[in-house]
Subunit: 204 residues, 2 copies
Amino acid sequence: MSLRNALLGLLHAAPMNGYAIKTLFDESIAFIWQAELSQIYRELGLLERELLVTSSIEPQSDRPNKRVYSITDSGRAAFRSWLLSVPDVLAMPKRDELMLRLFFGSMAGEDVVREELTRFLSQIRRMNAAVAAPPNIAERYPNNPLMARADRVCREDRYCGFLRKRALMTSEALIQWAESCLEELSSKAAPTEDGTASSREKES
Amino acid sequence: MSLRNALLGLLHAAPMNGYAIKTLFDESIAFIWQAELSQIYRELGLLERELLVTSSIEPQSDRPNKRVYSITDSGRAAFRSWLLSVPDVLAMPKRDELMLRLFFGSMAGEDVVREELTRFLSQIRRMNAAVAAPPNIAERYPNNPLMARADRVCREDRYCGFLRKRALMTSEALIQWAESCLEELSSKAAPTEDGTASSREKES
DNA sequence: TTGCTCATGTAACACGTTACATGATTGT
DNA sequence: ACAATCATGTAACGTGTTACATGAGCAA
């Protein structure tokens, strides 16, 4: 139900075609929600069938025609009713492959775990930097007024500020965590000169 | 691909029936991975068809019979190859309903956002407490040696320690974040005596 | 000429959720 | 009497991913 409401929420601001929505997802709310183009097209089709949006073809000469979607009154109503009804559970369950891998870490061995943590760390550092100093989106899409507007609105919006802060705080916590794990791996069991205790031990 | 490897990993330790696996998921790795019973049964069926596990019926008199699954050699091989091949991307994309709701916070209004943050906070505090002082699982399943063993192994395992630490650090960061958001909501815009600036503003 | 951007879509598959059916035993 | 636990499963639906097809214009 969330992708559909993301779409309705974006269409609430302005009529858009699927491709533009995908760009918005990727550029402005990538760390909140993301979706594949095929998924967006499918969901837009469903929304149209349910009369929550309507579409019309906007012809273009040099480029492929656009199918531009607009939200309807019942779409607005559906979005509002989703937005205003607070769900009971807001702490979402986690399914994270790295965690699963770590859970079986003693079977994987120290080297593999170190490699995984190192990669994870560099990826989180990159996204932390991207959130701390967000690139100017408007500059990169000079002929796209939607992007410029979305960028400006989000920079000023109080709740978008909350989201940036959350991304910053969690990524910093994860950086600290991964660093501390790597330190512990280096400090203990690094020198295994004698053959008694190697990194991987078999379970009973 | 991850659920199947979670199953193979658990069966690596001991043969088990679907229901017991579900219990393990819920009690010991709930904050790492979770799955519905129907999903587990389906995946076990697929694994059996692909000869990565085998099953046999263990008759019981007073309770329904058990279908106990064991991992095969090719299952062990498949698990190992998954475990040892480090994927490129380890920082998983987030799809979090609360974040999406916050993104549209100015349309939802301050009261709704406050309610959402408050609920989120209490849920995260609860899970933080559960990780900080994990309940004794072995006590609650006195006739289940698998649970007792899983509990003991996980308490001693270095990588399970990493996982607990991660859950602690991220939940603490989220608690701080939600508290700071609620504070900001209370401090600013709490007294709106004059009608000039209300909490919700319409977009242009 | 190779590949990127813009643009729309289909098909198949993988993974996750919800509801339902069945039925004995045990605890409140 | 009612609910929970133990136990296995099916069916339908919802959501996310990957691969493919098509095609013009533009830049290195």
